[in-house]
Every structure is written in structure tokens, then in C-alpha cells.
Subunit: 213 residues, 2 copies
DNA sequence: GGTATAAGTTACCGACTGGTAACATACCTG
DNA sequence: CAGGTATGTTACCAGTCGGTAACTTATACC
């Protein structure tokens, strides 16, 4: 599923067994810079020249490490997804075997992130708003990611024994993505995202079989 | 890069004058076309040349009617907002003096729209994902719009006598925008947006003072 | 009919962007 | 030191995009 058609297939970004033994510092610097700039200014809004320059390099070095801007974008999206799941797993791991607390922890973590000044919502989702062209690789990537989010929420709702687990999971997803979306507009902690956790609790409560407090 | 050369698709390519009595027909045609294309392919994704051509006109005629692309974009956003409130008011008007049913009708109407093949979520919100540059006029416009949505939801929550009306209103906004956002990804009726109405009802119920069934 | 105005046509400009060629330099390793 | 590898530098190409100039044609209205 995660086949890499871009020709660049380094999943491992750390210092490791690179062919010549030398660290590809430039490539990493460029990539990090690209991730930042893409997230901040959007994909269309940043050119390869700007990326290379901001990374203290130049366009030619950029094209020695990346086949094309599209390839970089694809890698950016994959990296964002990787980080996202790492973040997700970390939030969830704090409450093993307690799916209800896991979901709450997820939204708590989201709220925490949303307080950051640099937060601009969901990188993958924002990309979807930009990549409107067609059924290209990027769209497929984002779609697969969102599908996975949804399935996980379904699974968590099921695991907590909810009635209509799919409906609950979908509702949670709406709240989650609504938080990301509105975060694009409302500055820092002033947006409606602060109400997400309360809504999450209410919805879960309503979907759980009656239980003694 | 599927640069589809826009086939001239004039609906009324026939003899005789165009819709008689119309004043600036070209301007209107261009503007309508621009709205469609902006919504479908994003603002960055459509050039003035493509707009003019798709409208059966040309760039020069475009610039006789619009001061710049930015001016057109601003007008596009204002028009989208106008249409949005018209849609909102129509949905709400069916249940005067019943804010609870009004909110439900709003989400019913959203679900209805989301079923359309042409639906690409919230035009203003998508624009916000694109316009990341700075505090320009466009951003301000979108922010004001989202603020108004939020305030209206607050007011409706208050009108239905909800406890924590602001929290409920914010939660509704998350569901609403979550629906728009996810609609960008999930095709037609298969997305989580179909769970919105159920969540809306649950949340409202939970925020309303206990009432007899 | 004649004239003002709206609209189409062609050509062009400057800026920018993705991408490449050719060459120069650093650096690490054998 | 030799030599390969990674990187920097400059220049350039082709395409696109926003925007304009100058001119021609069609339309409307008196």
C-alpha cells in the first residue's frame, strides 16, 4: 500500500547506513525546512528556490537530493503522517486498555497542540484543500490517511463498547477535523476547539450502555 | 498536470443577442465562471486566462471588468458568503421560533448539499487554507465570516435554552466545519458527515434542561 | 446612419517557477 | 597525495501567470 513511486525511498531519516558512510546533511536540512515552510505557507505557496535558500543551500543541491518538487511534497506528506501517528500513539499509550480515556487523551493532546502559535491545523487536510487537481498520488495519500483516522476512531468506539460505534467514531472524527479546520481561522486558544473535549465526553456518554457512576 | 484546455462551453451559443436587457453580460459570465472554477480548483489553481477563456471571453475583457485577480477573489469570497447566508437563512426559516429544529435543519441541509458531486466543502474555509500569506483582506474576510457563523450558533444554542450555550454552539461549529473539511476527502455520501445529525441531536439533548419525553 | 461603447484579438512585458547544464570547490577517505 | 563524493555557484531554459497596449470588430442607442 505504501509503495513509493517517487524513486526516493528513504524511510529512515536518522544517521544510519548511508551508502557512502557520509551523512547527507544537506538533504535533511532541506527536507526539514521544506516541511516547515509547506506547513506554514502551504504547498503552492513555497517554491523550491525558497526552500533551498532557507535551508542555506541552493536549488541545484535540492535537485541532487529530490527528483522533483512533487516528490518532495509526497515525502513531506508521508513524513507528516508518520509524525501524526507517532503523536497519536503517544497520546493513546498513556491509557492502555481504556479506549474511552484514550479518546479523551487524544482530544486533550489536540487542544494542547492547538495552543501553539505555529499550529495551522492538519497538514494533510490542508494539503487536500490545495491539491484539488485530480486523482494523483497526493490525493490518494491524504485519502488513505483520513481513512485510517476514521477506522481507528471506529475501532476505539467499538472497543469502549459503544452502541453505534461507527456513528460515534464518525462524530468524533467530525469534532477532530472541525478542530483542525477552525484552527486555521481562530487564533490560539480563542476558537471553538476548546469545546471539543466536552462534546467528546457527552457523545461518548450517550453512546455507552448505562453504567453506574 | 492535467491542464485541461477549457473547451468553450457556452450554453447559449446561438444567433441573436445574448440575454436581452442584461447590462454587463461579459462581466457576469466571467464572474460566474470564476466562482465555479475557484470553488472547484482552488484560488491558486485557476488563472485569469483560464477563467476568461472558460467564460468564452478573454483576458483583456476580464481586466476591463475587474481591477485585478485579487479584486476578483475578494468579490468571489463575498459572493460565497452571501450565498451561504442565504442558504442558512432558508434552512432556518422553515422552523421559526424553534431554534432546536433550526439547528437540526441546518445540518440536514448540509448533509443534502454534501451529497452533491460538486460539493467541495466550505468555500471560505478552503480559501483560508490557501491564503496563508498574511493579514490581508482575504484573511480578514474569512475570519469575520467564521466569527459570524460561530456567533449565530451561540445565539441559537442560547435561544433553545441550553446550559453552556457557548460550549454547545462551539461543538456544533466543530461538527459543521468537520463536515465541510472531511467532505474534501471522502467522496459523496460515504464520509463521516452522515453522523453529524445524530451527534447534533445528542449534544443538544445533553445541553437542554431535563424535559419530559 | 452614425457614433459611443462593449467586447474580441494579438502581441507583448516582467516576474516567477520548476528544472537543467557546466563548472568550481570543499571534504573525507584510501 | 589522489580521487571520489557532496556541495556551492552561475547561468540558463521553458512555461506560466498577472497585467497592459493597441487595434479591430460588434453592438446599442440616438
Amino acid at each position: 500500500m505504501s509503495s513509493d513511486t517517487t524513486g526516493i525511498s528513504r524511510d529512515d531519516c536518522g544517521p544510519g547506513p548511508l551508502p557512502a558512510g557520509g551523512k547527507s546533511r544537506v538533504r535533511d536540512r532541506i527536507f526539514e525546512t521544506a516541511c516547515e515552510l509547506f506547513y506554514r505557507h502551504g504547498i503552492h505557496g513555497v517554491g523550491v528556490d525558497a526552500i533551498a535558500a532557507e535551508a542555506g543551500s541552493n536549488k541545484m543541491s535540492f535537485y541532487r537530493s529530490f527528483a522533483s518538487k512533487d516528490a518532495l511534497v509526497a515525502e513531506y506528506l508521508r513524513e507528516q503522517e508518520r509524525e501524526y501517528w507517532a503523536w497519536w500513539d503517544a497520546a493513546v499509550a498513556r491509557h492502555p486498555d481504556d479506549p474511552r480515556r484514550q479518546v479523551e487523551a487524544l482530544f486533550e493532546a489536540q487542544l494542547e497542540i492547538a495552543k501553539s502559535n505555529e499550529c495551522r491545523g492538519c497538514a494533510l487536510g490542508n494539503a487536500a484543500a490545495e491539491i484539488t487537481d485530480d486523482e494523483d498520488e497526493l490525493s490518494t495519500l491524504v485519502r488513505a490517511y483520513k481513512d485510517k483516522v476514521r477506522k481507528r476512531l471506529h475501532a476505539m468506539a467499538r472497543a469502549m463498547g459503544a452502541r453505534d460505534a461507527e456513528v460515534l467514531g464518525d462524530a468524533l472524527m467530525l469534532l477532530l477535523d472541525g478542530g483542525y479546520f477552525t484552527r486555521l481561522i481562530f487564533p490560539l486558544g480563542s476558537g471553538p476547539i476548546s469545546a471539543a473535549l466536552s462534546a467528546v465526553r457527552t457523545l461518548i456518554e450517550a453512546h455507552l450502555p448505562k453504567s453506574p457512576a
